[in-house]
Assembly symmetry: C2
Homo-oligomer: 305 residues x 2
């Protein structure tokens, strides 16, 4: 068993059954990400891209690949890290992020929940008595959009991979939230909306396993760390189920994404009126209702603290 | 804990959390099936409906409920049973079917693989070396359509329940066959196509558990028997997965079907050209290619026998 391309020792088995060595896997991976960018027109000349990073494998992979493309594609980038204040996790990944950005001469902005909102996530959970993933998600999205815009970015790149997207598609389907799926895809948002920065997902077609392997082979980070809070249990169940299926029936995740991309244009068309964006009555940030979720939670924090 | 409607002893817990006694469950079940028929316009005055029965819980439930509606809705029905010749299974269910039809004065036609195709399913499997569900599915669909048309039916009612449909939706999604899902739904086929009899699924919104309970409470059949051939393994995996999810997260199957019905009109529109029906070059039965799958298998049987 040798690499299909160059007859050397393989390190990775693709779902198609092809084995690749270290060097050919890295080439395959980067080529597929570039193709995802090209086909979906994720990057245009003159873009200023804010890369949302956590210091984990997904976001450092995106940052690394986009950084190699800035000259060729004629765009700028910088990194933005949201420090939620999760002890024994974020403190470690911040170091990896700083080291990577330093070595690669990438401007890194760090914005913390504590400075911006008055409390760390650890403190918020105690005050609100809510699930950590819910609170974290709302404030992370809020700060990413606000700061990316303030720093004059016109796009926000994230490390979402194929597994993340397949899980979200299935979760929305299993929860009867099919309209929410209309807001998914490799690029979301509208071109000239100055309030809501467009999201791009360059790793859209790469599986979590492929991203992990790439980050490991390229030694993008130090030790592997995971968030100390337990994941949303429904997402956890969907993730485990998809991993089980993928083991038995190779290619299932990819099939879910391919099927989804076939119906996505129809979903976007059907639910286009549901995605009207208003300005939050409190902070002017974009929201689908009157007040944004972040301001709702900020009010609750004031009330309960 | 008592029946929500009449304070007597409950026998069934709906996914909504409502408990019902025997009599209220039967009323709930029949009302929901009638609503499915009405909303989807499954039955019209003057219809001649062929009910495809196996003698199992699903098909006897459909037959029983449709039989109570013939006068009110002014339509005719008869039953059609395909005897594949599966020993220790079909021989038992045929008895249940005959008993039910006798007692309810329903005309029953029995058509066998052996008479129509020269071999029982058991014999075909040995000759072809193929999976039983594949061979059985092709010939069952072929004979049901052919015989229903010869017997002058304009609709073919089947016992497909919500679990069956949810499994098929997920299987098509996981296998990247989303175009095949465009042919699903509570009623399929085209009104004035004389070759392809329209299918109707009155149990479309009833879960397998509900159907089983109804058939048991109404004592529609004798002992419970299952096909002795092993199920398609992919469908089996999807069925087990959905059952696991339903246990932990009530309503998942219903959510899948509701989500699916939201996108079904878009799918039908997108893939309408893919569902063109031709006449098989060998037998004139409807097919999506030149020769129908049944004639392909008949040729293989001739070749290998």
């Amino acid at each position: 068993m040798v690499c299909k391309k160059c007859d050397t020792e393989p390190v990775y088995l693709l779902t198609s059954g092809v084995r690749l060595c270290r060097s050919c896997f890295i080439k395959y991976f980067e080529k597929k990400v570039r193709k995802t960018i090209r086909i979906n027109n994720l990057i245009e000349k003159g873009d200023k891209i804010c890369v949302a990073i956590s210091g984990g494998k997904d976001s450092l992979t995106v940052l690394n690949i986009l950084n190699t493309l800035t000259k060729k594609k004629n765009f700028e980038l910088f990194a933005l890290l949201i420090d939620e204040g999760i002890k024994n996790y974020r403190d470690f990944t911040i170091k990896d992020a700083e080291k990577f950005c330093n070595e690669n001469k990438i401007k890194l902005h760090i914005v913390s929940f504590k400075d911006e909102l008055g409390y760390t996530l650890d403190e918020m959970i105690k005050i609100l008595g809510m699930k950590p993933c819910t609170v974290c998600g709302v404030f992370r999205r809020y700060l990413l959009n606000k700061k990316a815009r303030e720093l004059k970015a016109n796009k926000l790149a994230t490390g979402h991979n194929m597994d993340d997207e397949a899980q979200t598609v299935i979760m929305n389907q299993f929860k009867k939230n099919i309209d929410v799926s209309a807001r998914l895809g490799p690029m979301t948002g509208v071109k000239d909306d100055k309030r809501f920065i467009r999201r791009i997902k360059p790793l859209y077609l790469m599986s979590e396993k492929e991203v992990g392997t790439y980050a490991f082979l390229k030694q993008l980070m130090g030790k592997f760390t995971e968030c100390t809070y337990e994941n949303d249990s429904f997402r956890g169940d969907v993730r485990d189920m998809l991993n089980d299926f993928e083991m038995k029936h190779h290619g299932v995740k990819n099939n879910i994404i391919t099927s989804f991309l076939e119906i996505l244009p129809m979903l976007k068309n059907k639910y286009k009126n549901k995605s009207t964006i208003n300005a939050c009555i409190s902070c002017k940030e974009p929201t689908s209702s009157d007040q944004c979720k972040a301001c709702e939670l900020k009010d609750k924090l004031k009330e309960k603290a």
